[in-house]
């Protein structure tokens, strides 16, 4: 394969339409005679619904119908794919019945002829609540005397889960020291630029429901919505037009999707609902939300020999699709990029009167990386070692890969010292250590933080996934020679229309303009899994690769027939099949395509047409890694953190498009720094979401962030033929601990060992009020 495109920074083919405003998101679409839905949502964190009075609202102009929980009883429960042993799965109706359990829970759906009239009528619905004590604090929620959120269960503990490997007792017995620390991973709100949106259109004649939805998983949604609504799956079509970001928040099946389908089926009208930003804050999944107690066994040379981590996970009021599974990913990655022979994680998943937590960029892995990267710095501090040395003492060597961890994973490939070395040089680590010393003498506080992360991508082998971990691709050469790629992945900002076209163009020897990548329409694309868990290129891209291999095998058969030569003498190069050693006889892909469709001269038993489909099942996850280094200076007066330098050297295996990879790293770092610096979903004791708008929930802006200096090392993955690993979440996973480590490092003169995020200025200021040691 001649590499004309792979490895090149090809500009995103998606961008012109998006930048010029010509792309179509769900809310851009208007169907004939479309009605609008507005939801009445709970204003209480926990309350019994005494009654719902819709009579006044029904009289409002433009109101078509109003649906209560009672009206929607026939809709199945909102699905949860968690299969943990003993998991308590509460009923999760699309509209609340009897009780509400979080602020923002939908109670009534109002349908009107315009969006404004629907909203007006929703305001006229009266819900009579009997307020109940809200269960907000995670540890109190887990206690036996806490009010119960779901009466059918004996307590608020949804499950307990443990993962253990190696001999922990021995590790702690033989430890030179034991470090203990509590760490909090605050709740975050994903804040995708485009909130959720759904249009449902039921055609009674065809008995067909089409859902346009802003989702990361169109096929899984089709299956689930069909089940919820009792429809045959092949009578449901899910179309995902442009999606303005997901970060996991659209890796889900929400009640609104089924409710809209149901309403359209009742009314025989298309109906639309587009989430407001406030709804997005209150009623789209949140991320993180863990409190953990840590015990670490260490040797005096810096080796970490055992780690125990006991976690309470704040699940929220109900399970969404993957809610209970997320904390288990933390357990898998607990030992990070280190040779730690013994590890145990215990998770207690707890119901609280809040929105459900679920997959949010990184989904359980940022928590693990944060813990283990903080541990490395705690060890360094405890033993007065350089944090770089502690990491090196614990790294597995390049020759140790594939590397088996105490948590039961096998890291595919790695060379952890390579990015570390590069990053140290790029960041001028030694120079900054000297600067730090000089600055301290002058009462200035500079800190240097590292994170030498590893993460788990390319989700994943099907046995490890709740609903299939493979991905599909169809590659079709059209009669004119144009190439259509249908991917089961569902890109929503990652740029795979471009990167998959790069793969296909190189393999088929055509230009990128000859290729069209289609996705996100279950009526067009074969079944697929979707885009999440940094999987689309490693799994979906490989499916494209394998489909083209298969296609070329078929093409070779036809070429042999047309060129009248034995199959083994046919070669394919530069978009042409030819006879080896005889350049005069060749046939282009375009000619082949035409011949295969006109089908006048085909080999015996040759299937007409030129297309192939491949379902790629990966044998393992992939494990990208890297080093992030952050240098900060604290403002002694205000506690503000200034980032002086940020270096990221990432290794995501082979790179299809460096521009896309850098973009993912940039966005990832921004999001990770957002958690470290400012983001936090705050509920008050009555369960009100205090940070319910962008006026109160801070997300990083461009001017909050430094210039990112990026570089990479390339350690190919043996798991797939492209050698790629995945990069969608690496930045988020790597950056958070780098910044926190830098700030704690800056505060060493104040005897600070750990600070919980977000590192808001006031928190730092308070620490700075103490006398420097």
């Amino acid at each position: 394969m001649a590499q004309q495109y792979i490895g090149q920074s090809v500009k995103r083919t998606e961008d012109p339409r998006l930048i010029t405003g010509l792309g179509h998101y769900v809310d851009d679409m208007k169907l004939h005679d479309m009605h609008y839905v507005a939801f009445v949502r709970s204003i209480h964190g926990h309350a019994r619904i005494r009654s719902v009075d819709i009579s006044a609202a029904l009289q409002m102009p433009g109101v078509v119908r109003i649906f209560t929980g009672e009206d929607c009883r026939s809709i199945g429960s909102i699905p949860c794919a968690g299969a943990l042993e003993g998991l308590k799965v509460p009923a999760h109706p699309v509209l609340a019945l009897e009780k509400v359990r979080y602020v923002g829970e939908p109670i009534v759906a109002v349908v009107a002829t315009s969006l404004y009239l629907a909203r007006d009528a929703a305001e006229a619905v009266t819900v009579d609540y009997q307020s109940l004590p809200a269960v907000v604090d995670l540890e109190r929620a887990a206690s036996a005397d806490s009010p119960r959120i779901h009466e059918e269960f004996s307590d608020n503990i949804a499950y307990t889960w443990a993962l253990t490997g190696g001999d922990l007792d021995q590790a702690f017995k033989e430890a030179d020291k034991v470090i203990k620390q509590r760490m909090v991973h605050q709740r975050l709100i994903p804040v995708a630029m485009e909130p959720r949106a759904v249009i449902a259109r039921f055609l009674p004649g065809e008995h067909e429901l089409t859902l346009w939805s802003s989702t990361q998983i169109p096929h899984l949604m089709r299956t689930q919505v069909a089940i919820m609504l009792g429809l045959a799956e092949n009578h449901v079509r899910v179309i995902t037009p442009e999606v303005g970001g997901g970060f996991g928040s659209k890796l889900n099946v929400y009640g609104e999707e089924a409710a809209l389908g149901f309403i359209s089926m009742q009314l025989h009208k298309p109906v639309k609902w587009a989430e407001t930003r406030r709804e997005n804050f209150a009623a789209t999944i949140h991320g993180r939300g863990q409190i953990g107690d840590l015990e670490v066994a260490i040797k005096k040379d810096g080796r970490v020999t055992g780690i125990r981590y006991k976690v309470w996970a704040d699940l929220g009021a109900y399970h969404q699709l993957l809610t209970p599974a997320i904390p288990t990913l933390t357990g898998l990655m607990l030992t990070g990029s280190y040779r730690i022979p013994a590890a145990r994680m215990d998770v207690t998943g707890v119901f609280t009167n809040k929105m459900a937590t679920d997959a949010y960029r990184g989904a359980g892995r940022p928590e693990a990386t944060y813990v283990i990267e903080r541990v490395m710095d705690l060890v360094a501090q405890e033993l007065s070692m350089d944090p770089v040395d502690v990491r090196r003492v614990n790294f597995p060597a390049k020759k140790d890969f594939p590397f088996a961890t105490a948590t039961g994973l096998t890291y595919d490939s790695g060379n952890y010292d390579a990015p570390l070395k590069k990053a140290l040089k790029l960041a001028e680590y030694k120079k900054w250590r000297r600067e730090q010393q000089k600055a301290r003498k002058k009462g200035r506080y500079i800190g240097i933080g590292l994170s030498t992360y590893v993460e788990i991508c390319a989700m994943g082998p099907s046995p490890a996934m709740p609903a299939g971990g493979w991905e599909s691709a169809t590659v079709r050469i059209e009669p004119t020679g144009k190439v259509t790629v249908l991917t089961g992945a569902s890109p929503h900002g990652q740029g795979q229309e471009t990167s998959f076209a790069q793969i296909a163009a190189d393999m088929l020897g055509v230009t990128i303009e000859d290729i069209r990548v289609l996705h996100g329409d279950t009526g067009v694309v074969q079944y697929g899994i979707g885009t999440f868990g940094s999987r689309a290129t490693a799994v979906g891209g490989t499916a494209v690769y394998r489909a083209i291999e298969k296609l070329l095998q078929k093409g070779t058969l036809l070429a042999a027939h047309l060129l009248q030569a034995p199959k083994k003498e046919i070669q394919f190069e530069g978009g042409k099949f030819s006879i080896k050693g005889d350049a005069s006889k060749s046939i282009s892909l375009q000619e082949m395509a035409l011949a295969s469709y006109t089908a006048k001269n085909l080999p015996v038993n040759f299937e007409p047409g030129l297309s192939s489909t491949y379902y790629f099942e990966p044998k393992n996850f992939t494990f990208p890694f890297g080093t992030h280094i952050c240098v900060v200076e604290l403002d002694g007066d205000t506690g503000e953190i200034k980032i002086l330098k940020y270096v990221a050297v990432d290794d995501c295996g082979k790179v299809i498009n460096p521009l896309l990879v850098d973009g993912q790293i940039h966005g990832g770092i921004a999001q990770g720094l957002g958690q470290a610096l400012m983001e936090e979903a705050v509920y008050d004791e009555s369960g009100q979401l205090i940070t319910g708008t962008l006026m109160d929930y801070a997300i990083p802006r461009a001017n909050d962030l430094p210039w990112f200096e990026l570089d990479r090392t390339v350690t190919p993955s043996p798991v797939n033929p492209l050698g790629v690993k995945g990069v969608g979440e690496a930045g988020t996973i790597g950056s958070t601990p780098a910044l926190v480590n830098a700030v704690v490092d800056a505060l060493q003169p104040f005897g600070v060992k750990h600070i919980d995020m977000p590192l808001r200025p006031e928190k730092i200021w308070k620490l700075l009020q103490k006398e420097a040691q």
Binding site: Y116, E640, L677, M695, D704, E762
Partner: protein
């Protein structure tokens, strides 16, 4: 945005706007740059039945000069104040303040008059307007009158505007060339509003002594205020770092300082001192 329904008016003169407001009374709201009113309507926290859009009133968008003062129309937006050569040259404090409001989109829409009339305790302008001792020109059913900045900001979201009265212009004194100024603020990370904002103007005599000083503080209490004790402590003193630090102490003494999830009252008090000091230092040319 899904507000409640309202009737929309687009008057072309101040008089017309005021008489519309008078006719519709409490259910009417003036719309200027829309950066406070529209978010509240969006959340249905404000549900005016009548919205009087001032955007078509030309008089309100002018900056003129009369008698050693700028008369800045209420509809002049933050970006204009930030970038106007006249304002940057001769009333720099206002430009310095405007430049730190929100983000470029906000500054292109939000207006001086809209912000000031809203009397948000965390808004940026009040600090500068108090320090500059500006006058507000307002027109109501009873005609035009002037209100000093000190009298204009009454309380939390409460100004001295009477029902149906419209802020027409702000009269801002031109600063002499020997007067230095600065606005320093600690931004609330989500909204960009001031947790603390301090505006200072400082002039020194030939011997380096403080000849004139005014410090306005916003964000800390229910309304912006002048740091009069600090001003008194500085007047006539050498403008040294030490003297400035000493003077800018307990700036918020006597102020009812409330804490919230973004900043506790202790932190706000402490930051009032820090930012007052920074503003004075910068205005005195002793720091950036």
């Amino acid at each position: 945005m899904i507000p409640e329904s309202f009737e929309y008016f687009a008057p072309t003169s101040v008089q017309e706007a005021v008489s519309l407001a008078q006719r519709h009374g409490e259910e009417a709201k003036f719309l200027s740059g829309g950066h406070s009113l529209l978010p509240m309507m969006k959340l249905r926290l404000a549900t005016p039945k009548f919205v009087i859009d001032l955007g078509g009133i030309r008089e309100l968008t002018q900056i003129t000069e009369e008698g050693g003062k700028f008369r800045i129309g209420a509809l002049v937006n933050h970006h204009t104040l930030e970038s106007s050569e006249k304002i940057r040259g001769r009333c720099r404090l206002l430009a310095q303040t405007a430049a730190q409001i929100g983000d470029p989109q906000v500054r292109n829409c939000g207006t001086l008059g809209g912000s000031v009339s809203h009397a948000d305790p965390a808004a940026d302008y009040p600090a500068a307007l108090l320090a500059l001792e500006v006058e507000m020109e307002v027109e109501g059913p009873g005609g035009r009158r002037r209100i000093s900045a000190a009298d204009f900001f009454v309380d939390l979201f409460t100004s001295a505007l009477k029902p149906s009265e419209l802020l027409v212009a702000v009269h801002v004194p031109v600063l002499e060339s020997n007067v230095g100024s600065a606005y320093k603020k600690l931004r609330q990370q989500a909204s960009g509003f001031a947790i603390v904002g301090a505006a200072a103007i400082v002039a020194k005599d030939e011997g380096g002594k403080c000849q004139r000083v005014a410090i306005g503080i916003t964000g800390v209490g229910p309304k912006a205020f002048r740091a009069t004790a600090a001003e008194k402590a500085l007047l006539g003193k050498s403008l040294t770092e030490k003297n400035i630090e000493k003077a800018c102490h307990q700036i918020a003494s006597g102020i009812d300082v409330q804490g919230d999830i973004h900043a506790s009252s202790d932190y706000r008090r402490a930051m009032a001192d820090v930012f007052a000091r920074r503003a004075v230092l910068a205005a005195a040319g002793l720091s950036q």
